[in-house]
Amino acid sequence: MAAHLSYGRVNLNVLREAVRRELREFLDKCAGSKAIVWDEYLTGPFGLIAQYSLLKEHEVEKMFTLKGSRLPAADVKNIIFFVRPRLELMDIIAENVLSEDRRGPARDFHILFVPRRSLLCEQRLKDLGVLGSFIHREEYSLDLIPFDGDLLSMESEGAFKQVANMMIRMKREFTGSQNSIFPVFDNLLLLDRNVDLLTPLATQLTYEGLIDEIYGIQNSYVKLPPEKFAPKKQGDGGKDLPTEAKKLQLNSAEELYAEIRDKNFNAVGSVLSKKAKVISAAFEERHNAKTVGEIKQFVSQLPHMQAARGSLANHTSIAELIKDVTTSEDFFDKLTVEQEFMSGIDTDKVNSYVEECIAQKHPLIKVLRLVCLQSVCNSGLKQKVLDYYKREILQTYGYEHILTLHNLEKAGLLKPQLGGRNNYPTIRKTLRLWMDDVNEQNPTDISYVYSGYAPLSVRLAQLLSRPGWRSIEEVLRILPGPHFEERQPLPTGLQKKRQPGENRITLIFFLGGVTFAEIAALRFLSQLEDGGTEYVIATTKLMNGASWIESLMEKPF
């Protein structure tokens, strides 16, 4: 069921099993039939660790979404609230509990805080007079959810705003844990998103990255327009096209997806057509099967082949959907502008494409993303340019966005150039962020994930493993935030001997989010034969430019 988690060098399935066990233990504490009231936000992450069947085994009979007034009727003994520790949710819970008390038989209430129990929330419940109603109040530390064999995420919303807090908290947790456990990781690299504001703003060009950019991947699921997935039957004439979005789970458990997810989109087509040939050849085999034994062998392979064919069909459809977008003129124009910015062309002037986008009222997120990209690639915009953009945006999209603009400025995504110095070219050259000769089919450098731009964050990781950061000290000084290295001495008994040819494992923790393209670039580095380092990636949130900007937007009405 979750085999794809154990493929990696570090078996992350252990983590999943641990959180599952914890969940079962909690459920068993509340004896009898149960209903779970969900904080809607949590359903996605929970889906990754436990299916409904697991809950059902532990007598969960009903599930509701947390909302005001009274709870829907349910004939159960226990009502368990699964919530994030937030005050506004406590108010709703109190309302639920109070209205429940007034009617019917007494129930047992429990509350499970995810990921942390909060004194503040309990105080609020106490103030509202319902704290005593809860028999079990516990926390469920669903901190890092395993997404894939090498990917963990905390999936906490508003991640960027709390980077500072998290950083401190994480540090504490890492130092607090006892190191009498056999160390799995050789290095831990903590990367604050502040160091690399640029990468998420650019459009990801890997297969997975593009799916995320265009359709948005939520907790490893994507919802796609259904038309392309209609079962093709002759004579049907497309009469009853499914109207509900097609929901697909995307992870390395799917063989084909594992192969193409991290490829540049331009390299996906050839793989798909090659696969198609292999599969149809395999199906053709049946004509060659003469003896009963041969037929039996063929039949035994059928389920696997059919699964492969289904998977191929799905991904061919997805690729077609994406291709419709990527071949559009506007996509091309946008990409051209992005690439111009990243390679340092005309970043100090008002860009006419951006102007056009505003004039035509393209989605605000797209506009903000471009403007922020330009600002970051120019170490801030000239005051005149900045004011022009801001004015244009306010006039076109409404004055209320002055709050959003202010948030972007606070985050450093949008800022006036200070001291008239543009540092970006230095950074770009030293770190080789722009590569002119990109091989999208058989990449030789991480820059393939953005067809030219090498993600800064990953480049830093790459340089850290070889030759070390000493070579780039000057750039590090320009980059925001302090950097520090710390060695954790291990008791000699725990030091393991590395087998020849065995790579070091680095846990790279992106505080403030990571994009699929960055993950692809890191996987590319892991696979390099002379790379010497394999990466396991952890993050506070899987994100892309759009979701990032959106988290900073503020709508007062």
Binding site: P85, L119, R172, G176, E329, D330, E355, Q360, R391
Partner: protein, 772 residues
Amino acid sequence: MDCYTANWNPLGDSAFYRKYELYSMDWDLKEELRDCLVAAAPYGGPIALLRNPWRKEKAASVRPVLEIYSASGMPLASLLWKSGPVVSLGWSAEEELLCVQEDGVVLVYGLHGDFRRHFSMGNEVLQNRVLDARIFHTEFGSGVAILTGAHRFTLSANVGDLKLRRMPEVPGLQSAPSCWTTLCQDRVAHILLAVGPDLYLLDHAACSSVTPPGLAPGVSSFLQMAVSFTYRHLALFTDTGYIWMGTTSLKEKLCEFNCNIRAPPKQMVWCSRPRSKERAVVVAWERRLMVVGDAPESIQFVLDEDSYLVPELDGVRIFSRSTHEFLHEVPVASEEIFKIASMAPGALLLEAQKEYEKESQKADEYLREIQELGQLTQAVQQCIEAAGHEHRPDMQKSLLRAASFGKCFLDRFPPDSFVRMCQDLRVLNAVRDYHIGIPLTYSQYKQLTIQVLLDRLVLRRLYPLAIQICEYLRLPEVQGVSRILAHWACYKVQQKDVSDEDVARAINQKLGDTPGVSYSDIAARAYGCGRTELAIKLLEYEPRSGEQVPLLLKMKRSKLALSKAIESGDTDLVFTVLLHLKNELNRGDFFMTLRNQPMALSLYRQFCKYQELETLKDLYNQDDNHQELGSFHIRASYAAEERIEGRVAALQTAADAFYKAKNEFAAKATEDQMRLLRLQRRLEDELGGRFLDLSLHDTVTTLILGGHNKRAEQLARDFRIPDKRLWWLKLTALADLEDWEELEKFSKSKKSPIGYLVRQGPSLHPIPPSGE
């Protein structure tokens, strides 16, 4: 070895009983035991003595002394009794001494004579006084049963969770029962009492008369009754010198015995062991001790001194002024090995090993004999088991040596039983040492578990030994060493004669960073003893800041708590302290405190954003943060006001704030917004339709779509919309209207700043933006 069985006494055909000395007591008893109230805790526990002056007619003027000794007679505590008359003493399962006073108040003392707490057994008891009391043990803990002057019973099954139960009345009871005891059946405590020839059983609902099956006739009174350690068996001693033994349920008789002694015995207790062959009762008189069971003859011992019996799980302890002995049924394994002329495999193996040491070939003969019968494994097991039941280390050793010898000839004998026995015996021998004075037998030790034994060592403040045992047994640190160190530290903080610095340093030196030790728990204890400064010092050593905060708050060191909370990085903790501070300080001081803590301030701002908007404004005001103040008023303009005037006023405040923040752009933009709002209002009035809260761009578009081109032009000019955008806007709007004539006119009117001709295709409609 012939002499080894010299102290074995047969009872009937099947079982032997032996009595051996645990300690020779050199306690300096000032009083005779018979003049004292005595309480001895089971499992080799401590002995408490209180000279009983209240029994005599004339109350003595001197205050009695309560003395506590270890089982080996080492003094643990001695204190002058200053409270009221005591009726009964007893030890709880946690080794706390319960002293039941005549007025029904129970005083609880620690092992070292430290007063812990007291509780009362209720008003009824207070009024009628306590006539007699028993402390008994159940699986829930320790209970107290009281017989009052009104001949009623009150009991509590667990003194840790005091629930008083008044038992029903015995009909027609005029005098005190001749004897009584508590029983525990089906997890409920009952009372069995004897009045003349009748027995009554009291449960919490009713009083029922009971008759033991097969009781000999002619009984006119019961003098003594005894319940076994596990509450399974009952023995009754009658005035005819007849002893009835049976099950507690009174459904079955085991046996009976007539000792022909009519004098009431001083004590009567059961002496059996789990899975024992024989069930026997030990009866003690002034100078005589008798073991009776299902046999025509009894075993008799002469008591040289005034003695006291302590029933144990697997035997009886007997102590007197000079000795402390243990009487028990010889366990099966020992019997098999040591019985005279035994041919049991274990006996042969022991013999073989002895011959081997003598370098005699007989060793081989014995060994062959065992092997031929295929009983070597059994022999080894027997030797190991028997070693466990030996009190003397030299006997333990010789049995273990035999087992080890036999093991050599076995292929696959799992070593753990042997190793564990060696370890257990080492622990047992260590705690049996008379300095420690816990004479546990192997069976008792297994029943008690190592964890409880460690607790008991800690209770006796024998920290070094406890730690040595943990290390020797390789117990996990959290359960073992750390726990004991923490207990030690908690004891240490109570030493008031040592300075705070010294205590803190001593504790830190010992504990260091031992995992699993909670400095905050120790600090809490220090605070409990009134040593706040010491508590703060100890908290400094606590690595988890999160643990420091709650205690600091409790000690009213809120500001220190705040900085610790911030260090912890736990936002929840910071909030907790902040809300605490907010209630504690006045607003001004609170804000000042925040000002010095930037992180707390920013967190508090976040909190206010959702919970207390007005406070947020005050905070910004105090900090002269005009930029945020401006944003605040912008938000307010949307949230609070419905009327246009109110909104404009809020925006004006915002604009003023932006000016103060030197953010000219934002100020101008806000002024533009005010202008636009007013204008939109006018448009709505004049033209109808909805304009409010449309963007400027959309306002112009709406005007064009409504055919108000002039007004649109005017608006664009007023707000200085750049030409380029205006062209796009018009183009889009006119295309939407499909007003091709106007479009053509427009296209010819001026040179296009956007070069739309390039895009002229089959339709003039600009490419729709993607995603819409």
